[in-house]
């Protein structure tokens, strides 16, 4: 027996969040052309189609069309980015990467935390890109409005990062975003991101108030509407809790089965 096999007792590794992991995750997302298309290119195209020609007009509710549509589409871009990033766990499960990670000291919580941080990075890119496009197209807002709207869109995207993780752990699909894409479009519509919910009619308008994009959209637009309602915050945190609980449940089920 060789002496090389005699090993002194080692300490367990912490298995926490680490910079290399986070950095490679972010690089992976930014290199993914499809992700960039969903998070930067598509919302930009929507803005040019729906926002640009009307940017100086006023909405029926009296607000600037350009500001309203830019902020709304920024929320949409951020939520798509975060959902897409979170749902990548489906791809990683399909490729056996999650299983491989279980052969390392990495703690499951740290994996989720890195995924959430990476999702927030991508949604920040989406927010900044959308604002730059809007500003270049001539939408003007005061600094406080840019900042408040941007922060609401960015931090609100955490709700959708959790949704992405939830669905990513639930579904075996490699193409989970092909299913989530249309779902997000519907949620964005119901949340008043594509048109003000006032013009949806009463029934839809009432349903809309309970959908997950609504609260974030209302909060992000509050600097231009000058309104605030605690119900919007409740909406955001309720959906965050629902999706986080769903993700945790699906994650536990997944690790049990593997």
């Amino acid at each position: 027996m060789s002496t090389a096999t005699v090993r002194q007792e080692r300490k367990p590794s912490a298995g926490g969040v680490n910079r290399t992991f986070l950095w490679i995750e972010i690089k992976r997302m930014l290199r993914n052309r499809r992700t960039i298309m969903f998070t930067v290119f598509m919302p930009a195209v929507f803005f040019f189609i729906f926002g640009l020609s009307n940017k100086d007009k006023l909405l029926p509710n009296g607000h600037s069309y350009g500001q309203y549509i830019l902020i709304s589409l920024t929320v949409y871009a951020a939520m798509t980015a975060a959902t897409g990033a979170g749902s990548q766990v489906a791809v990683e499960r399909a490729q056996g990467w999650s299983r491989q990670l279980r052969l390392t000291p990495l703690l499951p919580g740290a994996y989720i935390a890195v995924k959430a941080m990476a999702a927030l990075t991508l949604s920040l890119v989406a927010v900044v890109a959308q604002f730059i496009i809007g500003a270049l197209a001539g939408v003007t807002m005061d600094a406080g409005t840019w900042l408040t709207a941007g922060l609401a869109a960015w931090l609100g995207s955490l709700v959708f990062a959790a949704l992405g993780l939830f669905v990513g752990y639930l579904m075996p699909s490699q193409n989970v975003m092909q299913i989530l894409g249309p779902v997000l479009a519907i949620l964005a519509m119901l949340g008043g991101l594509f048109m003000p919910i006032e013009i949806m009619g009463e029934t839809f308008g009432n349903i809309a108030k309970f959908t997950p994009a609504y609260g974030i959209g209302q909060l992000a637009r509050s600097p231009i509407t000058g309104e605030f309602d605690w119900a919007w915050t409740v909406n955001v945190f309720t959906w965050l809790a629902i999706f986080v609980a769903g993700a945790a449940m699906a994650f536990r089920r997944d690790t049990k089965r593997v």
């Binding site: 090389a4 590794s13 290399t20 992991f21 490679i24 992976r28 490729q95 990467w97 390392t104 000291p105």
Partner: protein, 318 residues
């Protein structure tokens, strides 16, 4: 073997079933498996597909929990050993991200451990330093397998487990892969590899553990397994009236007579043939050599009766 050393692997009474019996019935994949591997051993876990090799490896690694029984690795739970970087595995498939480079994959794996070997050193030892910047999806099956090997080396584990590592590789790929593993094992690492290739078990293991239907049917050094299979089988047609003459035949491992046909398993086929031709009316004599493959088939084949094979061979081997 020193008794003071903590075993690299100690698995006792492992049982694992799949399915809840609703529609597919219960598959009892592992039934009462005991295995102790000492540090420095290179052990082949040899058995046909479906013998329970992967299920056992998953339990050793803590990827699935046994229904009964326990596993310790260097005296720790599987999870504890993983956290300490004492065990690593090369899985059969999967476990790689396609969209990052070979080097990034190893960097990522290394980042999970508080201390790890330098990335380039590990890539060099796995023989993939020159393709370090290649995307994983552009690597051949053999290169991906060596990447899995490189990932397994980052924590410098005392125990390396390989699950059918050369499945789907061509001959040259298999040879290169095993050269890398062998070179590494010479440094004193404990290696357990599952395989259904006899020649791999024969060429690379110090000890062969034969598994069949979820339990161990033979366990010994490659040489012992070969001894078991050494010798020859002599077959001849023999008139029933001559059966009494066989009492004078040189000693043999086994003698069977069925339907006018005599089958003798012996270590000295020349003496048996000489006796049969000189002293009996035997004719149509055939002599065939037993080989490792025959022993493997005899021990692990589906028609082998559990228990009976174990009774026959365990005494010789364990």
């Amino acid at each position: 073997m020193t008794t003071a050393s903590v075993p690299a692997v100690h698995a006792a009474g492992l049982h694992k079933s799949f399915g809840t019996g609703k529609s597919f019935g219960k598959v009892h994949a592992v039934r009462g498996l005991d295995l102790t591997v000492q540090p420095g051993e290179v052990v082949a876990f040899l058995g046909p597909n479906g013998a329970g090799k992967t299920t056992t490896i998953d339990m050793i690694l803590g990827l699935s929990a046994p229904d009964q029984g326990s596993v310790s690795i260097f005296g720790h739970t599987p999870r504890g050993a993983i956290a300490r970087g004492q065990v690593a595995a090369v899985m059969q498939t999967g476990g790689l991200l396609r969209d990052i480079s070979v080097r990034e994959t190893v960097q990522l794996n290394a980042a999970m451990f508080d201390s790890s070997r330098p990335v380039d050193e590990v890539l060099a030892r796995a023989g993939i330093l020159e393709i370090a910047d290649r995307k994983v999806e552009k690597c051949s099956g053999g290169q991906q397998q060596r990447l899995r090997f490189a990932m397994a080396l980052v924590s410098d584990p005392g125990l390396l487990i390989l699950d059918e590592p050369t499945t789907g590789m061509d001959v040259a790929g298999r040879r290169d892969f095993w050269t890398a593993i062998r070179t590494d094992a010479q440094r004193g690492r404990t290696v357990i590899f599952a395989t259904h290739y006899l020649d791999e078990a024969d060429a690379y293991a110090d000890r062969i553990v034969l598994v069949r239907q979820g339990s161990i049917v033979a366990d010994g050094t490659a040489a012992q397994i070969k001894n078991l299979a050494s010798g020859r089988t002599v077959k001849a047609s023999l008139p029933a009236a001559d059966r009494g003459l066989l009492a004078g035949m040189p000693p043999a491992e086994s003698v069977d007579y069925d339907g006018g046909r005599l089958t003798v398993r012996t270590g000295d086929s020349d003496a048996v043939v000489r006796f049969l031709l000189n002293n009996t009316g035997a004719h149509d004599v055939e002599v065939t050599a037993n080989n490792l493959e025959e022993a493997f088939v005899a021990l692990t084949g589906d028609d082998a009766v559990p228990g009976s094979t174990q009774d026959t061979f365990e005494g010789d081997l364990v």
